[in-house]
């Protein structure tokens, strides 16, 4: 398993980031490469940009023990663990993401690094705008 972490600071309270993270219909606004999302709740399907007929079913879960939002791709088995940490007394938020890539998808490491770098920054920026 290949994994990497990334993080960004949002000058917005955790709840603003949280609303974006828990509303998959808004993923296309900040998650690079996702054009549309179908479904709600736990079972989602992503459609990548430029591939409207290539469904990528996802599972969204939360982990009670360490307060993480986990998005797992059921096709590629990529897994994204998102975690929010309040900063400055709750006025800002540190967004952390841990990405796990199975060995057979290892060749996607560099591309995913770039995607996630940009996505986490976009998420932070969007939350600041919404605040």
């Amino acid at each position: 398993m290949v994994r990497f972490q990334d993080e960004a600071r949002a000058d917005a309270p955790p709840e603003e980031v949280w609303k974006l993270l828990y509303d998959p219909t808004r993923f296309p606004e900040w998650w690079v490469g996702i054009e549309t999302v179908v479904g709600d709740g736990a079972d989602l399907t992503f459609f990548p940009e430029g591939y409207p007929h290539f469904p990528m079913p996802q599972q969204l879960a939360t982990r009670r023990e360490d307060r993480q939002v986990v998005v797992s791709c059921l096709v590629s088995h990529l897994r994204f663990d998102w975690r929010l940490e309040p900063l400055d007394g709750g006025k800002a938020t540190r967004i952390r993401v841990d990405v796990q890539i199975p060995p057979e998808e290892g060749h996607r490491l560099d591309a995913q690094r770039a995607v996630i770098r940009e996505s986490v920054e976009r998420l932070a920026h969007l939350a600041e705008t919404e605040a």
């Binding site: 309270p13 709840e15 949280w18 609303k19 828990y22 509303d23 709740g41 009670r64 309040p86």
Partner: protein
Amino acid sequence: MLRVQLIGEFRVELGECPIPVPRSRPAQALLGWLALNPGPHARAALAARFWPDVLDASARANLRNTIWVLRSAIAGDTDHLVATRDSVGFAADTLWTDVAEFGRLVREGRAEAALELCRGDLLPDLDDDWVLEARDQQRREAGEVLVRLAREAEGRGELDRAVAWSRRRAALEPLSEDACRDLMRRLSAAGNRSGALAAYASLSDRLRRELRMATSPETRALAERIRQGPLSEGPPPAVGEAHETRLCPDLPSLVGRTPELSVLERAWADARAGRGGVVVLVGEAGIGKTRLVAEIAARASGNGFVAAGAGLDLDGAAPFALWAELIHGLVAVAGPVPADTGWAPQLALLAPGLHAAAGGAPAPAASPELERARLFEAAAAMVEWAAARRPCLLVMEDVHAADPASLALAAYVARRAARLPLLVVITRRDLPPRPEVDALLDRLRAGGVPTREVLLAALAPAEISRLAESVGLRSPAGVERVVRVADGNPLLAIETARALAAGSPEPPVTLRAAVRATAGGLDVDARALAEFAAVAGRDLEREEAALLAVPGLADAMVRAVEAGLLAVRQGRVAYRHALLREVMLADIAEPRRAWLHEALAEAIAQAGGRRRAGEIAGHLRLAGRHDRALSHLVDAAADARAVAALPEAAGFLEEALLIRDDDPEIWLALCEVEAWRGRHAEIRRAFDRAATLIGSSRPGALVEAHLRYARLWRGALCEPKECHQHYRAALGLIDEAGLAADAGHAEALAGVAWSEAVAGAVEAAEEALRDLHRLVGRSRPSDLLAHDVGVARAHILIRQGRFAESYGPLIAAADSARAAGRADMVYGALGWAASAAGAAGDFDRALTLVDRALGVMRQAGLRPLEALLESARASILARLDRVADARDGVGRLRDLAELLDDGRLTALAAHDAGMVEMTAGRHEDAEALLAESLARSAPVSRPLTRLARAEALALLGRCEEAEREVTETALEPLLPSDFPDTLVARLARVQGLIARSRGDRALAVRRLQEAARGWLRRLDPVSMGHAYSSALIDLGRVPVAGLVEPQRELERLTVELEELGAEVPS
């Protein structure tokens, strides 16, 4: 000093001068009562007590006049009779009464001096109820003193004195057969057979004349034996027969301990007045805890029920051993058990024999958690039943050695003491520490139960001297040596004094030496009996003793009792003190000890004692006979499991596996117990081991193992995925091996249907139901199978959002569960039906269904489930805007939480109350209650609760606090049962309310519109069906309280947006 003589002639003296007793009867009565109860008393209470049938004002006027009469009688005295505007009473420090003096002398061991004060009846010229009660009490106390004096005299061989004391007791209690039998026995022993028979004739005549009764068979048999010749010597009567408890019969005099006894007496008096409590006696072994308990028990038995049980330091003792003894004891004195009682069959699990007495059938099994709740409630109900008849004293001895289950039940029952005529007296050694006992006491104190701890210190040298003299040691030099050796320990003092009195030249320097000296004087049979009683670790039942390899058992028993080692209590053979047993045990060497253990195991097994399997196994293991212990360990685990003692059950099974680890049945039994304990890793480990041992060559057994395993994940733990895997595995094995269709096959298909439906795989679930239909055909399914099918069908419908159609199959499933005797399953099915009705918007029907479920739970005694249904009911009532009824429901939930001592339910009640107050628009109350529920970790959705509180704060204009709560919501860990996909819309609405409260219209509109858009996406009922299914799994209860109503939310947002003059998204 004011001296008032109440026994015999009523006399009053002030200083040394007699003063006339007032002539008026009310004044005499008031004087007598105040003298018996010194200290100030509220005038209102006195007026009501003495003039209950007149108006308050008249009663108070009568009291004033009577006090004036009293004052006049004692020469206007104001020092002794202290009267204020509100109270009146005699000052305790300047009052002497013969009744109090009697008690003091008895406590100091001056029994004969105490009896000199008894010159007749107490207040013979008065006949008020309280006088009759006090007179009876005084007579009983005098009678107890006479019993003791007679026994002591008899023990010393002074038969004439024994007869004299017995005569006096018989005169004091002329209708007491017990007193008459003692007199007859002693007269006969003294050679006066004609006197004995005359006493009998006189008693018969009195009983016939005054009560129109014949003498009892026991008394008639004694008379017949006396007629036939002099009585042969037999063992002394057991104290259990006298006091109906397990306490020691031949009690040494109580020396010292006046303050400690006062604490106990006060606590007993409080208990009798309905203000019960707990007294803990703490001290080293042999310091006198047992003796003190015996004293209060003897006193309490005159005006209450007394029962006792002891913690057992015994390898393999059954869980709740202390309570088994207590239950037997309490029922024996308070019985007969009413035929229609619900608790007796339940308690029969602990105390076999009770079931037969009650004549009912044991309740059907539910989950161990519910079984335990029902068992605990049954024990509490039994104590309440007894306490309603007479005040109760429950003695729990040696709790430092009690099993954890007994301690948990003690905490549960004792919590009710504060509002019952119930005193619980606990004895414990101070070392080694036992944190569970400390936790029990802390819990009682926290629960508001008056809990007093009394530390028993060493006795003073003068007290030790008196104790030594009381057991017949006369020589001053000997007494001095006892004082030196005993070092303040009364048990050591008595044993040393006994040894010296018996002719030992030197005092034994340790208790062990004293016991060794005593045991050394026993013959072979008596010693063998003492050894068996030592290795037994508990009192031996009569039937067990009879099966021991002890020739001449009766004689051996008499000699061991006479030597002071053993006692006979309620027909059981026991050590006079636990410490003597421990010392004796330490003195038995191997291989003798191993032989004793094995012989004892055989005797216990032959006696057929129920709930003794663990003990038998323990003795066999101590004897090195591990092979023979195996089956008993498995039986012991089943017994423990039957009373929900899961750690103990697991312990027995693990012990069995140490002996033999290749029996898959033991592994599967362990698997089940671990499932109820919620220990996932252990469950899987046990199952894997069992499956490996069964092997693929026995597919039928493997199918059964998978089904058993799947049931665990559907009952003890709710893990549909795990169930699904094993139901599928069972089906795969059936197909592969071509096994014949049977009940297991049907169960597996029904299980697959259920787990697929819950997981949302509707088509797969329907396919499994079709397969099942083909398999079962037209034959009538079993009740449990019918339940499973109904629940599976309903889940399919719920998953499809067809709520209104789903509660029909659920109601049918509930009926099948009820027919199968599974009230816990009725709860699940009817609860789900209520949820489905709520989701369909039919709240009246939801209420009816919850009420129906409540009726079943109440009948089954499943209080924890009753509480959850009360919670659901309150939510429905609030939803119907029936706020007052909802508040009543929350009140009942609170009462149940209090009754069950369940902090989580208390927190749930706070949550429900908060939500009801939200509905009522009382936002201040609502936010405080919701904050309380969050702080106490209520079993509810924390994010939803936080948002509800944030809403209340926003509506109160407390915007900063509301914002903090919103931030905390985002940081709460989420589960599917929190409906995470609806939280974004909810959170946005609260943000809108905060902005509105701040006057920021633009932001308010933006947030409220954001919320409305979120709810618009949620109008699909199918997605709600998915979410509801998750709630049962996460919260373990039906989501009536957390129903999501997107349409209603939208309507509310519409109103809020229109008030701001903004558009509503569409």
